[in-house]
């Protein structure tokens, strides 16, 4: 999500952004990922069965990472997920008239924030970042 936050920071004056929280990809009671348990952030949840549980996880996420991008949560009947074939993660860009201008691939292997950045850069210009300072040799 770091790439998305950076893109949001770079282009929020030109485009609107909306994160949509959908059903969990690797909950404890489905396809459990050991890497989530080892992660220093301890990202372990069961698949939410109620909207209140889904809302609680979404709030945990936004608060834990101080996530600045506007946020919405899919209903428990997964309307948004089904309409956009979003699971486990996917990116779209809608143009000013509400038509799909970019449809990204299915995550995680075809999830490419750099394609979103390229779309925005083509329209609004590139945002250059200072190169990180080289590490000093001791």
């Amino acid at each position: 999500m770091g790439d998305i936050v950076q893109i949001y920071s770079d282009y929020k004056d030109h485009a609107d952004f909306l994160t949509i929280y959908i059903r969990e990809a690797h909950p404890l009671d489905e396809w459990r990922m050991k890497s989530n348990e080892k992660d220093k952030d301890d990202v372990c949840y069961v698949q939410p069965k109620t909207l209140a549980q889904r809302v609680a996880i979404a709030n945990d996420f936004t608060q834990r990472f101080k996530f600045p991008v506007p946020f919405g949560i899919d209903e428990m009947n997964n309307t948004a997920n089904d309409a956009y074939a979003a699971w486990p993660e996917r990116l779209y860009i809608l143009d000013e008239s509400g038509r799909i201008s970019y449809k990204g691939g299915n995550g995680p292997f075809q999830y490419e924030p750099k394609e979103v950045r390229a779309w925005l850069a083509q329209r609004y210009g590139q945002v250059k970042h200072a190169e990180p300072a080289p590490e000093k040799k001791s």
Binding site: M1, T19, W31, V43, L51, V55, N59, T62, L120
Partner: protein, 88 residues
């Protein structure tokens, strides 16, 4: 048993084993391969949306858990980047 049938069965079995090994490598382990088949593949699909289509205007819930809004309410006069995902 018919010799051709036997070799067909052996070849099919070999392909199944190879597919399972490949899936295990892709998913991260033998158990992950089973869970991927059970919990991931049924939900992963291309969908019917294409570039140029009108974006579906579906309802969403705000972080307060009570307020409802529609995706297209956030799409007025500027492009809208949609980021679908979950925590895990």
């Amino acid at each position: 048993m018919n010799r051709a049938l036997l070799w067909t069965a052996i070849s099919f079995g070999g392909l199944v084993v190879l597919a399972y090994v490949g899936l295990s490598i892709l998913a991260g382990g033998p158990k992950d391969a089973i869970e991927m088949l059970r919990f991931a593949l049924p939900y992963m699909h291309r969908g019917r949306l294409h570039v140029g289509d009108s974006a579906p205007d579906v309802p969403l819930v705000a972080l307060d858990g009570a307020t409802r809004f529609h995706i297209r309410e956030r799409n007025h006069g500027r492009p809208l980047v949609l980021v679908f995902g979950s925590f895990t």
